[in-house]
Protein backbone atom coordinates (compact mmCIF):
# COMPACT_ATOMS: atom_id res chain seq x y z
CA UNK A 1 0.00 0.00 0.00
CA UNK A 2 1.53 3.23 -1.15
CA UNK A 3 1.03 6.03 1.34
CA UNK A 4 -0.82 9.26 0.79
CA UNK A 5 2.26 11.36 0.29
CA UNK A 6 3.82 8.99 -2.24
CA UNK A 7 0.58 8.85 -4.17
CA UNK A 8 0.41 12.64 -4.26
CA UNK A 9 4.01 12.82 -5.42
CA UNK A 10 3.33 10.40 -8.25
CA UNK A 11 0.25 12.29 -9.32
CA UNK A 12 2.05 15.61 -9.43
CA UNK A 13 5.12 14.18 -11.13
CA UNK A 14 2.86 12.74 -13.80
CA UNK A 15 1.16 16.11 -14.23
CA UNK A 16 4.34 18.14 -14.65
CA UNK A 17 4.61 17.19 -18.32
CA UNK A 18 2.44 19.22 -20.75
CA UNK A 19 1.92 16.27 -23.13
CA UNK A 20 0.58 14.16 -20.28
CA UNK A 21 -1.74 16.95 -19.19
CA UNK A 22 -2.98 17.22 -22.78
CA UNK A 23 -3.62 13.48 -22.88
CA UNK A 24 -5.65 13.73 -19.67
CA UNK A 25 -7.57 16.67 -21.08
CA UNK A 26 -8.44 14.58 -24.14
CA UNK A 27 -9.61 11.72 -21.95
CA UNK A 28 -11.72 14.10 -19.95
CA UNK A 29 -13.66 15.07 -23.04
CA UNK A 30 -14.60 11.54 -24.04
CA UNK A 31 -15.31 8.29 -22.32
CA UNK A 32 -12.31 6.20 -23.31
CA UNK A 33 -9.99 6.52 -26.28
CA UNK A 34 -7.65 4.20 -28.12
CA UNK A 35 -3.92 4.75 -28.02
CA UNK A 36 -3.78 5.85 -31.65
CA UNK A 37 -6.65 8.30 -31.10
CA UNK A 38 -4.71 9.77 -28.19
CA UNK A 39 -1.49 9.97 -30.21
CA UNK A 40 -3.16 11.76 -33.13
CA UNK A 41 -2.90 15.42 -32.03
CA UNK A 42 0.74 15.16 -31.01
CA UNK A 43 3.82 15.52 -33.15
CA UNK A 44 5.44 12.60 -31.36
CA UNK A 45 5.76 8.93 -32.20
CA UNK A 46 3.55 6.21 -30.81
CA UNK A 47 6.28 4.74 -28.54
CA UNK A 48 6.69 8.15 -26.90
CA UNK A 49 2.94 8.29 -26.28
CA UNK A 50 3.11 4.79 -24.81
CA UNK A 51 5.79 5.99 -22.39
CA UNK A 52 3.60 8.85 -21.24
CA UNK A 53 0.73 6.42 -20.77
CA UNK A 54 2.99 4.23 -18.60
CA UNK A 55 3.71 7.18 -16.31
CA UNK A 56 0.02 8.07 -16.11
CA UNK A 57 -0.82 4.44 -15.41
CA UNK A 58 1.80 4.20 -12.63
CA UNK A 59 0.28 7.27 -11.03
CA UNK A 60 -3.13 5.62 -11.22
CA UNK A 61 -4.48 8.44 -13.38
CA UNK A 62 -5.65 6.17 -16.18
CA UNK A 63 -6.69 2.58 -16.75
CA UNK A 64 -5.95 0.57 -19.88
CA UNK A 65 -8.11 -2.31 -21.04
CA UNK A 66 -7.35 -4.54 -23.96
CA UNK A 67 -9.96 -5.99 -26.27
CA UNK A 68 -8.50 -7.90 -29.20
CA UNK A 69 -5.80 -5.66 -30.61
CA UNK A 70 -7.28 -2.44 -29.34
CA UNK A 71 -6.23 -0.82 -26.05
CA UNK A 72 -8.77 1.55 -24.60
CA UNK A 73 -7.58 4.22 -22.19
CA UNK A 74 -9.83 5.75 -19.56
CA UNK A 75 -9.39 8.47 -16.94
CA UNK A 76 -9.43 7.62 -13.24
CA UNK A 77 -10.58 10.51 -11.13
CA UNK A 78 -9.53 9.45 -7.62
CA UNK A 79 -5.81 10.41 -7.58
CA UNK A 80 -6.67 13.71 -9.23
CA UNK A 81 -9.25 14.36 -6.57
CA UNK A 82 -6.68 13.73 -3.81
CA UNK A 83 -4.16 16.02 -5.46
CA UNK A 84 -6.73 18.78 -5.87
CA UNK A 85 -7.82 18.39 -2.26
CA UNK A 86 -4.25 18.79 -1.07
CA UNK A 87 -3.84 21.93 -3.16
CA UNK A 88 -7.18 23.38 -2.13
CA UNK A 89 -6.62 22.77 1.56
CA UNK A 90 -3.19 24.38 1.55
CA UNK A 91 -4.20 27.13 -0.79
CA UNK A 92 -7.01 28.12 1.55
CA UNK A 93 -4.77 27.89 4.58
CA UNK A 94 -1.91 29.90 3.17
CA UNK A 95 -4.09 32.44 1.37
CA UNK A 96 -5.64 33.38 4.68
CA UNK A 97 -2.23 33.63 6.36
CA UNK A 98 -0.73 35.72 3.56
CA UNK A 99 -3.68 38.13 3.61
CA UNK A 100 -3.06 38.75 7.29
CA UNK A 101 0.68 39.03 6.72
CA UNK A 102 0.09 41.65 4.02
CA UNK A 103 -2.22 43.66 6.27
CA UNK A 104 0.29 43.54 9.12
CA UNK A 105 3.29 44.50 6.94
CA UNK A 106 1.30 47.37 5.43
CA UNK A 107 0.47 48.71 8.90
CA UNK A 108 4.18 48.51 9.82
CA UNK A 109 5.05 50.35 6.63
CA UNK A 110 2.58 53.14 7.47
CA UNK A 111 4.07 53.36 10.95
CA UNK A 112 7.64 53.55 9.55
CA UNK A 113 6.60 56.34 7.18
CA UNK A 114 5.05 58.36 9.98
CA UNK A 115 8.32 58.10 11.93
CA UNK A 116 10.39 59.10 8.90
CA UNK A 117 8.44 62.30 8.37
Amino acid sequence: MVNYKERLDRTFTALVDPTRRAILAQLERRDGATVSELAEPFAIKLPAVMKHLDVLDDAGLITRSKSGRTVTVRLRAQPMREAMEWLRRYERFWSGRLDKLAAYAESKEAEARRKER
Binding site: L101, A105, K108
Partner: protein
Protein backbone atom coordinates in the same frame (compact mmCIF):
# COMPACT_ATOMS: atom_id res chain seq x y z
CA UNK B 1 6.89 16.83 -6.41
CA UNK B 2 3.82 18.42 -5.04
CA UNK B 3 3.86 22.14 -4.56
CA UNK B 4 1.70 25.16 -4.16
CA UNK B 5 2.77 28.65 -5.24
CA UNK B 6 1.03 31.87 -4.28
CA UNK B 7 2.02 35.41 -5.21
CA UNK B 8 1.02 38.55 -3.31
CA UNK B 9 1.78 42.23 -3.81
CA UNK B 10 2.22 44.03 -0.53
CA UNK B 11 2.38 47.79 0.00
CA UNK B 12 5.40 47.64 2.29
CA UNK B 13 9.12 47.61 1.66
CA UNK B 14 10.92 44.23 1.49
CA UNK B 15 12.82 44.79 4.78
CA UNK B 16 9.51 45.21 6.66
CA UNK B 17 7.96 42.16 5.01
CA UNK B 18 11.10 40.15 5.71
CA UNK B 19 10.95 40.98 9.44
CA UNK B 20 7.26 40.13 9.49
CA UNK B 21 7.89 36.63 8.14
CA UNK B 22 11.00 35.80 10.15
CA UNK B 23 10.87 37.39 13.61
CA UNK B 24 8.84 35.86 16.43
CA UNK B 25 7.05 39.19 17.12
CA UNK B 26 6.24 39.57 13.44
CA UNK B 27 4.94 36.04 12.92
CA UNK B 28 2.75 36.24 16.02
CA UNK B 29 0.85 39.12 14.39
CA UNK B 30 -0.40 37.22 11.39
CA UNK B 31 0.13 33.54 11.90
CA UNK B 32 -3.10 32.66 13.66
CA UNK B 33 -6.39 32.13 11.88
CA UNK B 34 -8.96 34.94 12.07
CA UNK B 35 -10.87 32.99 14.68
CA UNK B 36 -8.23 31.95 17.19
CA UNK B 37 -5.17 33.14 19.10
CA UNK B 38 -1.50 32.49 18.44
CA UNK B 39 -0.33 30.62 21.55
CA UNK B 40 3.33 30.32 20.79
CA UNK B 41 5.73 32.01 18.40
CA UNK B 42 9.42 31.22 18.61
CA UNK B 43 11.88 31.97 15.86
CA UNK B 44 15.64 32.06 15.47
CA UNK B 45 16.04 33.30 11.87
CA UNK B 46 19.52 32.20 10.89
CA UNK B 47 20.70 29.15 8.96
CA UNK B 48 20.29 26.17 11.28
CA UNK B 49 18.06 28.15 13.67
CA UNK B 50 14.59 26.78 14.47
CA UNK B 51 11.07 28.10 14.74
CA UNK B 52 7.98 26.78 16.50
CA UNK B 53 4.45 28.12 16.10
CA UNK B 54 1.17 27.13 17.71
CA UNK B 55 -2.35 28.46 17.32
CA UNK B 56 -5.78 27.52 18.58
CA UNK B 57 -8.89 27.34 16.45
CA UNK B 58 -12.38 28.32 17.62
CA UNK B 59 -13.24 24.62 17.97
CA UNK B 60 -10.50 24.35 20.62
CA UNK B 61 -8.05 22.32 18.57
CA UNK B 62 -4.43 23.41 18.71
CA UNK B 63 -2.06 23.14 15.80
CA UNK B 64 1.69 23.30 16.08
CA UNK B 65 4.22 23.46 13.31
CA UNK B 66 7.98 23.72 13.51
CA UNK B 67 11.09 23.49 11.43
CA UNK B 68 14.52 24.79 10.64
CA UNK B 69 15.73 27.78 8.67
CA UNK B 70 17.64 26.46 5.66
CA UNK B 71 18.42 29.75 3.93
CA UNK B 72 18.14 33.26 5.29
CA UNK B 73 18.99 36.11 2.91
CA UNK B 74 17.53 39.40 4.16
CA UNK B 75 15.49 40.99 2.70
CA UNK B 76 15.14 38.67 -0.29
CA UNK B 77 14.62 35.09 0.53
CA UNK B 78 13.97 32.63 3.32
CA UNK B 79 13.68 28.85 3.06
CA UNK B 80 12.59 26.61 5.90
CA UNK B 81 11.67 23.05 6.56
CA UNK B 82 8.12 22.58 7.77
CA UNK B 83 6.34 19.92 9.75
CA UNK B 84 2.96 19.72 11.46
CA UNK B 85 3.18 18.22 14.89
CA UNK B 86 1.24 14.97 15.01
CA UNK B 87 -0.51 15.72 11.76
CA UNK B 88 -1.47 12.33 10.45
CA UNK B 89 -3.13 13.80 7.37
CA UNK B 90 0.12 15.25 6.14
CA UNK B 91 3.04 13.26 7.49
CA UNK B 92 6.63 14.09 6.82
CA UNK B 93 8.60 17.19 6.24
CA UNK B 94 7.91 19.74 3.59
CA UNK B 95 9.61 22.92 2.52
CA UNK B 96 8.43 26.51 2.59
CA UNK B 97 10.15 29.18 0.54
CA UNK B 98 9.37 32.88 0.59
CA UNK B 99 10.94 35.15 -2.01
CA UNK B 100 10.66 38.93 -1.87
CA UNK B 101 11.18 41.23 -4.82
CA UNK B 102 11.01 45.03 -4.68
CA UNK B 103 8.28 46.49 -6.92
CA UNK B 104 7.13 50.15 -7.26
CA UNK B 105 4.29 49.75 -4.74
CA UNK B 106 6.36 47.76 -2.26
CA UNK B 107 7.09 44.04 -2.39
CA UNK B 108 6.10 41.11 -4.49
CA UNK B 109 6.04 38.02 -2.31
CA UNK B 110 6.23 34.56 -3.88
CA UNK B 111 5.32 31.80 -1.51
CA UNK B 112 5.95 28.12 -2.27
CA UNK B 113 5.01 25.17 -0.12
CA UNK B 114 6.45 21.94 -1.45
CA UNK B 115 5.80 18.43 -0.30
CA UNK B 116 8.76 16.51 -1.55
CA UNK B 117 10.87 13.41 -1.56
CA UNK B 118 14.23 14.83 -2.47
CA UNK B 119 15.79 18.11 -3.41
CA UNK B 120 16.73 17.11 -6.95
CA UNK B 121 13.32 16.13 -8.12
CA UNK B 122 12.00 19.30 -6.54
CA UNK B 123 14.43 21.54 -8.40
CA UNK B 124 13.86 19.92 -11.75
CA UNK B 125 10.11 20.12 -11.46
CA UNK B 126 9.84 23.57 -9.97
CA UNK B 127 10.01 25.26 -13.34
CA UNK B 128 7.32 23.11 -14.84
CA UNK B 129 4.90 23.40 -11.96
CA UNK B 130 4.86 27.09 -11.22
CA UNK B 131 2.36 28.71 -13.48
CA UNK B 132 0.68 25.53 -14.55
CA UNK B 133 -1.39 25.33 -11.40
CA UNK B 134 -4.12 27.62 -12.64
CA UNK B 135 -4.43 25.79 -15.91
CA UNK B 136 -4.52 22.51 -14.09
CA UNK B 137 -7.20 23.63 -11.69
CA UNK B 138 -9.29 24.82 -14.62
CA UNK B 139 -8.68 21.60 -16.45
CA UNK B 140 -9.81 19.32 -13.69
CA UNK B 141 -12.37 21.47 -11.96
CA UNK B 142 -15.21 19.62 -13.65
CA UNK B 143 -13.75 16.20 -13.01
CA UNK B 144 -13.19 16.48 -9.29
CA UNK B 145 -16.82 17.30 -8.67
CA UNK B 146 -16.01 19.88 -5.99
Amino acid sequence: MTSLTLVRRIRARPAIVFDAVTTAEGIAQWWGPDTGPVLLSESDPRVGGRYRLRFRMLDGTEHESSGEFLEVVPPERVVMSWRWKGGEEDPGESRVEIKLRPVPEGTELTFTHALLHDEDSCRSHEEGWTGSLDKLVALFEGKTGA
